[in-house]
Symmetry: C2
Subunit: 240 residues, 2 copies
Amino acid sequence: MVNKALENAMDFDPNETPTGKYRAGKIRDRNLTNIVKAAEEEFVQHGYRGTSIQAIADRAQIPKANVHYYFKSKSNLYIAVLDNLIHLWNNFFDEITEKDDPAVVLDEFIRKKVELSYTHPRASKLFAMEIVQGAPHLKDYIRTEMRQWVRRKAAVIDTWIEQGRMANVDSMQLIFLIWSSTQHYADFDTQVLTIMNRAEYEPDMIRDISDFLSQLILRGCGLEPPARPAPQTALDDADA
Amino acid sequence: MVNKALENAMDFDPNETPTGKYRAGKIRDRNLTNIVKAAEEEFVQHGYRGTSIQAIADRAQIPKANVHYYFKSKSNLYIAVLDNLIHLWNNFFDEITEKDDPAVVLDEFIRKKVELSYTHPRASKLFAMEIVQGAPHLKDYIRTEMRQWVRRKAAVIDTWIEQGRMANVDSMQLIFLIWSSTQHYADFDTQVLTIMNRAEYEPDMIRDISDFLSQLILRGCGLEPPARPAPQTALDDADA
DNA sequence: CATAAACCTGACTATTTAGACAAAATTGGT
DNA sequence: ACCAATTTTGTCTAAATAGTCAGGTTTATG
């Protein structure tokens, strides 16, 4: 359980991890992973209500009753999946301070966010579905942890603006802009890829997208793109 | 039926409009409107599979069998709702030419898109859900009409770039950026409002959002914001 | 190898679902 | 008032659903 907000939101009490001899079997872990992954896929494609345990079980290639053995209920499994997602998000982004260079921080943030969308498209989509539907399970999380997170970042950006180190833009809106534009490539991949007549993303495209977004947004903030380490060669590491 | 792509996608054959005396009754229209609106709300909140005809009927305050009278099937009703949505979109955006001023066109596009998100949040969200879920019903539409639409716009932007009238940016990515950033305020309204600690959008906020996005994106494209008519006073119309 | 805990699973139940249908009610024109 | 087309609605059905449960199987350890 990563966040308390979720804990209160529902009767989350996953079937207790066994305490005896079995407590950490390979099979158990594999099953749990399979179920959660299958659940993610089904929930993304059909929503919470539209997903049946049977479908999840089929996808995970285990009997339906087995899913109920590991997770008491459907809502339970869903919360577990969401919790994974929040965990992922929380661990991915560092804190920043006013001493950092705005251009470097924003550039890194954009690139990390695009990368996250690329490496974890299911998580991104599931989160999107939750929010679009009115965040029935994540409202508390947004009101508490997420709001604080945004306020901390916004405060730093405001300091940069006061110090004249970047253009005077609404810091919160800037964060929303970065969120929306980066996430779009994961959440709306079907639309983007179909319009671009591609089957799937490739590393090249991801780099192009990151470059485009970073360039345009930084320029929009009156910033010069930071010097980026040359790709591939990790030789020149020393800073001088 | 606005687009052929949808027509082929499913067995769309709405219960034939009666030809006799009843053909265009007030009651019929009111019922149809109520059902479609209720359906939009339910489909957004619970997805296609997660929505029951009963719930739609309850929301529209008519018996369930009545919904089936107006729309043969659930999938039928869904298609009708999506069709409304496409219609709305198609009628909202004008064509542009290379003779237009890039700053004016982009500024207008951004503002119109924000406005559309504000006035039709349900439509925006429903579209988002469809795409996130892999566009099972809209894939053809995206591949044909939408792709062409994007290509036309992108071609004009490319001409502007060749003529040195704006910075050299990837035109398609620019369109995606505008889409994503504007739609975000409708689709993720729960998140945005909760983080900003507001209950709902107000005209002021919408103006601020439009100003922010227009400013930042235009600056990112190396453009100066166009002279905008002063709000409220529509007196000074003459151009000199 | 004995045993107890952990795990697996087929069969069952109560509820909800989309859709069908027939009989009733309403409508507008004659 | 009468009629035929249109609209309304209660009732029925077959399929799918989440969750239960009892009994069987596997596993680690003494």
